[in-house]
Symmetry: C2
């Protein structure tokens, strides 16, 4: 197993921090950070800032005119080996006389994974991989999932009461959680490339479904599951100019055996449009169907300090009969957001 020094870990941490700066700019590309170091001194830093523009390594190398004179380059994702929108980074690194390259994680795309490492190693560069690999994978979990499975990473957001309800029997549901939690949802939206909901939510609430966050320029695609082809009114707010909108209905999506829209096919179509991350904000039926088909990866529950009672509607329409069929989650984080409890959990 490759061993890394304390300094290696320090510089890779820094590269990960840099990578995160790209979170609202890289769209379907992965977030990548890079630090170039010689004699324990940082010569240059870079990160991938904007979709289609320079990769992190190039942004760092440009700062020192591509002359490293035997430095070590830390990068959170394997340098690319192919000519894409930009020239291959592996060759540029070789040309800049880098002595050693430390990589957090290999490229998840099975068609290119390992090729960057091979080019570097063939040129006599010392290549080490796997430093802070989990942290790097977590950062680009949507990109990685799409590369590996052809599906986006789906986060399901639920604003509920402590007793697990999301609306009264009458349908009444507005303002369960407080304004801090609703503001937090805006950040969640900004971090996702698409927001997915159902036609009943659109028809009941006529939401705008955009990001309203000062200083953040993020316009996730608005996606509606419209199995009954009910979304015909083009004056609905979802058709505003603020962001693009995609309606999935029986006209453009295959049906499953039960005659309903095939949700898996919807997600495949989104992935084919290079969408890595989807935020599901929907009613109990669509959430239940998505969960039942194994299409949800993560839950974020905003739990308001209220009891809505047993007549109210449960957060998720999901038929489970036996205790051993219950869905098991891993709690990743709990914290207060205003007066509400925010619980982040992934499906085991």
């Amino acid at each position: 197993m490759t061993t890394f020094s304390k300094n290696d870990t320090h510089f890779m941490s820094l590269a990960l921090q840099l990578a995160r700066k790209g979170r609202y700019g890289v769209a379907s590309n992965p977030m990548v950070g890079c630090v170039i170091v010689k004699d324990n001194k940082i010569l240059a830093e870079g990160y991938h800032q904007t979709f289609g523009k320079e990769h992190a390594e190039i942004n760092a190398l440009t700062q020192i005119n591509h002359q490293t004179d035997g430095a070590t380059l830390y990068v959170t994702l394997e340098p690319c080996a192919h000519q894409g929108k930009t020239p291959p980074c592996a060759q540029t690194i070789i040309d800049a006389s880098v002595k050693e390259v430390v990589i957090a994680t290999l490229d998840p795309n099975p068609l290119v994974s390992g090729k960057g490492v091979a080019i570097l190693a063939d040129a006599g560069i010392v290549v080490k991989t796997g430093l802070l690999e989990n942290e790097s994978k977590e950062l680009n979990r949507g990109f990685i999932k799409r590369m590996e499975t052809g599906l986006p990473f789906v986060t399901c957001k639920i604003a509920m009461s402590i007793d697990g309800k999301t609306s009264m029997a009458s349908g009444q549901s507005k303002w369960i959680t407080g304004k801090e939690a609703r503001q937090d949802v805006q950040k969640l939206r900004a971090k996702n490339q698409a927001i997915l909901t159902g036609s009943s939510t659109i028809l009941a609430d006529n939401p705008l479904m955009t990001v309203r966050l000062d200083g953040v320029d993020s316009t996730p695609l608005r996606v509606v599951i419209d199995g009954k082809n009910q979304i015909t009114d083009t004056t609905l707010k979802i058709f505003s100019n603020d962001a693009n909108t995609k309606i999935f209905n029986s006209g453009n999506t295959q049906l499953n055996k039960a005659g309903k829209l095939d949700l898996h096919h919807v997600l495949v179509q989104l992935a084919q449009q290079n969408i890595n991350s989807v935020l599901l904000e929907a009613g109990p039926k669509l959430i239940g169907a998505m969960v039942e088909e194994g299409l949800v990866d993560e839950f974020i529950f905003y739990t308001a300090p209220i009891l809505m009672g047993s007549h109210a509607t449960s957060m998720m329409a999901l038929a489970i009969q036996q205790m051993d069929e219950c869905l098991a989650l891993n709690i990743r984080d709990i914290r207060m957001v205003g007066n509400d409890i925010k619980i982040t959990a992934i499906l085991k």
Copy 2:
């Protein structure tokens, strides 16, 4: 408003810590701690250890042979003015030449509140009250509630899934939470003077309902609401010799207008038996009825990281129609207990 020094706060904090040591011993008495200080040095410490035995002040004074020579006495509850199971503390304090008495909170019993202070002040002692008053009241919230209202403080414990369910439609419900949470419930039981449940829980699970905690000697009264007079089998575990048991049925409890056992009257009877604190561990119907009648003060939710689905039974049978009728809670604490989330909340 009375002002207190940093040292005053320090010594009263210490007295509160001492008071807590009595938590498994004082039964229906309040927990009280006492620190005697002269020239910023602690001369003696004491706390009320055992129901019916010496009060905190006396335990402290005994250590210095009742000779304080002008010291300051910090005590978390007003010294008593009456001859009870022990002589009045106020007079003992005067006899020990105490110069100043600092009190966290007055006696909540309206029949005696303020009398101890008056006796001390009449004897020329400087008396200050209200230091860390909220902390002292929190410590004895059950005792105070019983004194002020004639009802015990009721904590409702619920072990549930993240979606607010406590059993499958079939009734299956065992082991929703993990063993750390179940161990935590044992501590909760030990801190309460009674554990309240319904006959359906007894008949379905035949629980022992005792405290099983190494090194802790606490035997809360086992209380069963048996509106249909179904608890007749004396071989049920609830009739074991480990603790006392009280069954409330139509033979010993008045009925309400709906012809059901009057739960308020049950709690009044428990308070009349000097029970300050009740832990409600019951099914959704009894919990719902207790909440509906305003008899629950606090909730402790142990939330397991599972989803039980919409066919499962909600934690509480409670008919609420409108959002503005929802019950509002104040979250007091959230923490992980093993893999479960423990949420402590009081009703607003």
